[in-house]
Symmetry: D2
Subunit: 297 residues, 4 copies
Amino acid sequence: MQLGLVGLGKMGFNMRERLREGEHEVIGYDPRPEVTDVPDLEGLAAALTAPRVVWVMVPSGEVTNTTIVGLSKVLGTGDLVIDGGNSRYSEDSPHAALLAEKGIGFIDAGVSGGIWGLTEGYGLMVGGSDDDVAKVMPIFDTLRPPGPREDGFVHAGPVGAGHFAKMVHNGVEYAMMTAYGEGYELLAAEDLIKSPQAVYQAWSNGTVVRSWLQQLLAKALKEDPQLAEIKGYTEDSGEGRWTVEEAIRLRVPVPGIAASLFARFLSRQEDSPTMKAVAALRNQFGGHAVQRISESG
Amino acid sequence: MQLGLVGLGKMGFNMRERLREGEHEVIGYDPRPEVTDVPDLEGLAAALTAPRVVWVMVPSGEVTNTTIVGLSKVLGTGDLVIDGGNSRYSEDSPHAALLAEKGIGFIDAGVSGGIWGLTEGYGLMVGGSDDDVAKVMPIFDTLRPPGPREDGFVHAGPVGAGHFAKMVHNGVEYAMMTAYGEGYELLAAEDLIKSPQAVYQAWSNGTVVRSWLQQLLAKALKEDPQLAEIKGYTEDSGEGRWTVEEAIRLRVPVPGIAASLFARFLSRQEDSPTMKAVAALRNQFGGHAVQRISESG
Amino acid sequence: MQLGLVGLGKMGFNMRERLREGEHEVIGYDPRPEVTDVPDLEGLAAALTAPRVVWVMVPSGEVTNTTIVGLSKVLGTGDLVIDGGNSRYSEDSPHAALLAEKGIGFIDAGVSGGIWGLTEGYGLMVGGSDDDVAKVMPIFDTLRPPGPREDGFVHAGPVGAGHFAKMVHNGVEYAMMTAYGEGYELLAAEDLIKSPQAVYQAWSNGTVVRSWLQQLLAKALKEDPQLAEIKGYTEDSGEGRWTVEEAIRLRVPVPGIAASLFARFLSRQEDSPTMKAVAALRNQFGGHAVQRISESG
Amino acid sequence: MQLGLVGLGKMGFNMRERLREGEHEVIGYDPRPEVTDVPDLEGLAAALTAPRVVWVMVPSGEVTNTTIVGLSKVLGTGDLVIDGGNSRYSEDSPHAALLAEKGIGFIDAGVSGGIWGLTEGYGLMVGGSDDDVAKVMPIFDTLRPPGPREDGFVHAGPVGAGHFAKMVHNGVEYAMMTAYGEGYELLAAEDLIKSPQAVYQAWSNGTVVRSWLQQLLAKALKEDPQLAEIKGYTEDSGEGRWTVEEAIRLRVPVPGIAASLFARFLSRQEDSPTMKAVAALRNQFGGHAVQRISESG
């Protein structure tokens, strides 16, 4: 089928590729002239045959918001917008309402898979009405991995459900990565273990902890067995923070996910103010020596 | 090759099956007459041709210890004992030393895979000398899953390394299970999500969080979508506790694994003494109402 | 000085008492006729001499909001409103802006001390302009405990700073209560310890952990040595949740406070969905028995 | 009364001072000639009148063990040894048994108070028989702070109970310090707050979180308002580790104390291997840039 695609960055570019290989007609728009198929959103609307379907794949927050406002001006009744970016699920309802004023439908689609999606397919979690989802199903079927549809695609619920499911996916991802990280650190700390890499490799078949992330860590350790070239500094893109915030709203205890989020915050601090206070306290009551900046500088 | 196998419980029984299908000659001993091949350890030793290899697959702790002491009395120079149970790695050196006095070799083998190992193969992590491990390799190759040896088997280091790697495996397993559990609870708490089961199912292909455990949870949720029939009460078999204890010894921070362990402890309490104290404190300073046992009983 | 006081509940009633003992003229308003001094907010405004000062001590959220909107209609230029309730700090700026349109000043005041404040004085953390704070200082000086002003009162910064400081106070309070709760549970679990109460009592002098909360727990344990009459069920009033949310906004790792918050959530669950999922997983891969509801019911 | 005191370090030296001020006759032994009163343990035994009482105040572990073995050789029936150091409680029973062979009694005494004990008195938690504790009560009464005995002293139970109670005290201390540290970090991160020091100072009276540690942190922040001169690097002396280990043995969930312990481990790492693994994983699946050592060096 025909699809407009706004945003041809790392993710969008690959998705256009995969969709074209799947015999879809994709007209892409991106502000960068070297990748775009049309000059602007008006051009995109003009190039598509109504009822139009436009997939938005741009950074969450302000850029997504501006794009959807822009599309609300160039699209019309019967058209459909899909937000495939990492928007917070609570932004979906306002976007859907804005578009509904013009008779435009809305679907939120959480997309997992990163740079591997081009060849392996993307895991998809979508929210919206049954009718809207049905319209886009040929696109979803090409983007998702081959195999049974329900193994790589879910219509999770009404508008917002797709991004909520994707947010939880990322929260779980945070905690799994911490789990494997702690396992690696334990193996690396124990002299008996010849090669943490070999242990991680051997978890690939038959074990309870085998997974795609486990294999990726085995691969990363093969390339750099002591991770000597990699700093622990770790960004977070939002979903982990949102997961803990939503957990608080829903009164769901998430010690594992929260510990993973806090570990990321900590990884970006040069020194921990909390631990400076603890060191100061020990010094006050116990006369314990503290490491002073001036001594070590 | 020929193998003696002590312990024909849930694990040992299946392993004998898999090994016999792999054309090995397995002579099993178990105190239960209906499953055993020989009447006792003496009978086992007599039935095996020297140099004998005996795999011990009995509960860790006292039973494993008694079995190894028993084997030290009926085996002799050049024989080899493999402890395939969930022993704490620190018990391996004493066991190896005890057997070495009689010229008997020792290998510790961590075995993962549970009830699925019979058909899919077992993940194996072993510790011992190169020579001893080489002697048993035909057995390991039959027990492990098909495919490249390094994907389902690791000679992790000297005696103790196998059980240490298996212990870490189980610590990681604890944290992964908590991660998936938290994800399930979040999905179940949010009204937008029609079916947490469908979301978990859809994570099977293309997503970052796909894994064997993820698929098992999707399966469990298919059988009982709200886990209505299952209590949160969760035992721990030792490895999680040992992992945190070893982390403390090695000064490795393991917030994810520790949170998982504590969640299990908590799941077995009728009421939390910690939270009783917190409730009592709130009542003391704030006049906050507490729920009294006598009112609710 | 003269003060209007809106809200004569548990906190407001006691504050009126303490202020009157301090020779201030307090005119209180409350919807309950049996405690109010005036019939409504108009009556309150009429009874006060301009420039009027009105202290709001009502539940945070909707009630505080309605009250401040109401006061913006009956007060005028040069008057001053103090929000002494447990409002989220982010609500202070909108309230200040609303009142500023009418020339009315605003101070946010975090008040600690609970039911003990009447006799011991209240710990006060306030936000606002220097001029506004100076106007109310006689009231603050009567409400706060005797002794040096800086030991029981802080002008923490501009509007919002008072409630922010109070929110952090409550986050720290959560974590301290958990600390004492864990200590109690450990003492109660160890047979060597004759009386956890006696140990908590003995921490009152000379130890590093002595505090007001420690003494309250010793008192609570004296009344009910095994807390047999108290359930662990624990509400949270908002500040703990907000503290973790603000920590996420500020990228501050708060594992201690978050653990305390999650423990409260958990204390209100009949069974943990997370642990039901973990139990289901163990059953799936290990054939571990689960406790089924139907068996135990 | 008369007391032998082995170990005249930071703690022992001050205790000798406080006891002598309390009119006790203290004969101290220390390997350092400049502080000792007698040349060796034999000299100490000879200088004391039977039945002798000897207080051991030396580093826990090997030194304490050697000292107690040494005392078992120079003391005799009816004498009494008190271990006032930070020994692990599980070492007390073996020490008591060793001494009992010679008819020598044993008391374990947990001592809190640090450098402040000299002037304010020491918080004491002791374990032993009623008879033995009664013999030493005049010493305990001088060492403990003035006021009711039960507020600064507890006979917590049989041998081991004193050190167990002290260990829990230190575990609680860890979690309280983390609580105050997190509160400080939050206040310091929020621009609205003019001075975290002033807020901590203002918590001294009337608030729920007031405590000795709170006042010490206010003091430390007065000396160095941004803790600019202090590194977060924090040692742990053993009790925190033991508390978590005992919690695991007793199946007591201690998320607050464990988080505090792990924060200390982390504070001593240059980079976190766990977070290196997490960063490596993000790079693998998402093409997320990692900070490479070689780039930043």
